[in-house]
């Protein structure tokens, strides 16, 4: 368990960054209370050079990928294989580096927001403003999909309105830091920003609509009868504890998703190399009015995490697919998944579950069409 706490910052040397390479120093195993000024100094002493190294490596990635493809391997410029390989050698390490840094940052931010704190913040909120807050909290609260049921029960028993609870449940998977990083790294800040804003809007709006439908009677009986216990007192972790939380997040999230990221980028690289320019325009272009509908219909039953789907989405965009269609596809894959529905079925009667899928699906459709019309 603790082996990764040893410093492991290796320069990726033009190859693929080791997924565990944390951009910052590890914190020793110590109770939070014992953490002194010395430990904070140590964190800074190791963290600042690590960050400098990160920046230096990041800046040179493109040159290294080119050198490896055309210099070291001597491949022909302009051949499909060389172009796919250069794409992979550049984007793979780049995304992993970005992912490591952002997940570390998000891990620190998350140490401020626990599910119990989200519950306290949302209890007694009215709708509208409550939906907005729930959507924002959903993006920063650490939460795994198998926690959906306990969390749902915790919210409902604390008097959080049903619609507000749903805003949280939609935004938690949909606006996801891994997705955001990938979009940022692969398509730039504009698409990443659009994804963030529209994802939050869908979460707020669909929660609000579900609240208006007054479907509290469609919860399973036991949820209404249960009296959830008091939430547990939480210790403040302190800064060394927060840094440790950031490192844990890197180990957990990057450690788990890097094969998917690389697999997705490999698929993206193949599309980049072999699919002709403009090929996607006919099937996923703006003029194909049915494409958004088809993309959402295809995306809902598909199960992939953000890490696998986004490099593919980027490659589709590059070959002429419309942004709205691609965003809609991505959102439906990430936000609505069959395993999550099976879990939610334990607390929701079929009709409410159906409404949930319908409302979120509709929101995603609207986003898709809106972008295809505006852009």
């Amino acid at each position: 368990m603790n082996d990764l706490r040893e410093l492991r910052i290796d320069a990726p040397g033009g190859g693929i960054a080791p997924p565990e390479a944390a951009p910052s120093p590890p914190a020793p195993d110590k109770a939070p209370g014992q953490a002194g000024r010395g430990e904070i100094k140590r964190i800074l002493a190791l963290g600042v050079p690590a960050l400098a190294l990160w920046i230096a490596v990041y800046m040179h990635l493109e040159a290294w990928a080119d050198a490896a493809t055309y210099g070291l391997l001597g491949l022909d410029r302009g051949s499909a294989f060389a172009s796919a390989l250069a794409f992979f050698l550049y984007d793979g390490p780049k995304v992993l580096l970005l992912l490591t840094l952002v997940v570390f940052g998000v891990g620190i931010i998350r140490s401020f927001f626990t599910p119990a704190r989200a519950r306290r913040l949302l209890a007694g909120r009215g709708e509208a403003w409550g939906n907005v807050m729930a959507a924002l909290l959903g993006t920063v609260t650490p939460f795994c999909s198998c926690s959906a049921v306990p969390l749902f029960v915790g919210f409902v028993t604390a008097g959080v309105p049903l619609g507000v609870t749903f805003s949280f449940l939609v935004s938690a998977p949909m606006v996801n830091e891994v997705a955001l990083v990938l979009l940022l790294g692969l398509t730039g800040w504009k698409v990443a920003g659009l994804y963030l804003v529209t994802g939050l809007l869908v979460a707020v709006a669909s929660g609000w609509v579900i609240g208006r439908l007054k479907m509290e009677g469609h919860l399973e009986e036991w949820v209404r009868l249960i009296h959830a216990g008091q939430d547990q007192p939480e210790a403040e972790p302190g800064w060394p504890g927060r840094v440790r939380a950031g490192l844990d997040a890197v180990r957990d999230i990057v450690g788990r998703t890097w094969p998917w990221v690389l697999a997705g980028i490999a698929v993206g690289a193949c599309i980049h190399g072999w699919v002709p320019e403009g090929f996607m325009a006919s099937i996923m272009g703006r003029d194909a009015w049915w494409s958004v509908l088809a993309a959402v219909g295809l995306g809902i039953p598909m199960y992939s995490n953000a890490a696998g789907i986004i490099p593919v989405a980027q490659a589709l965009l590059e070959k002429g697919a419309a942004l709205g269609t691609v965003l809609a596809f991505m959102m439906s894959v990430i936000a609505l998944s069959l395993p999550e529905m099976v879990i939610l079925r334990k607390v929701l009667k079929p009709r409410l579950l159906g409404v949930f899928v319908g409302v979120v699906g509709l929101g995603i459709l609207l986003v898709g069409y809106l972008f295809n019309i505006i852009l």
Binding site: P115, A116, S147, P150, L151, V153, H227, G229, Q232
Partner: protein
């Protein structure tokens, strides 16, 4: 001493169960490890995120995989 590991059975919850058993065996402590997978039971204990660990009914950690040192601390309590 009873240690309850709360979680529906996702990989992380299983990891915690294994970890608790390992640490208990290493310390040679007289510990019964129970896995609680029932959502009603989990909710009744006031736990909103899994995996969680409770010692003799008192919740010690929620929503994360505890370190071996933490677990040893609860057992030596």
């Amino acid at each position: 001493m009873d240690i309850q590991v709360l979680g529906p059975g996702c990989p992380k919850c299983r990891e915690v169960e294994k970890l608790v058993r390992t640490v208990a065996a290493e310390l040679g402590a007289d510990v019964t490890v129970v896995k609680v997978e029932d959502f009603q039971e989990i909710a009744r204990m006031g736990v909103f995120a899994t995996p969680a660990v409770a010692v003799d009914g008192e919740v010690k950690c929620v929503g994360k995989v505890p370190s071996k040192a933490e677990i040893a601390g609860w057992i030596n309590g």
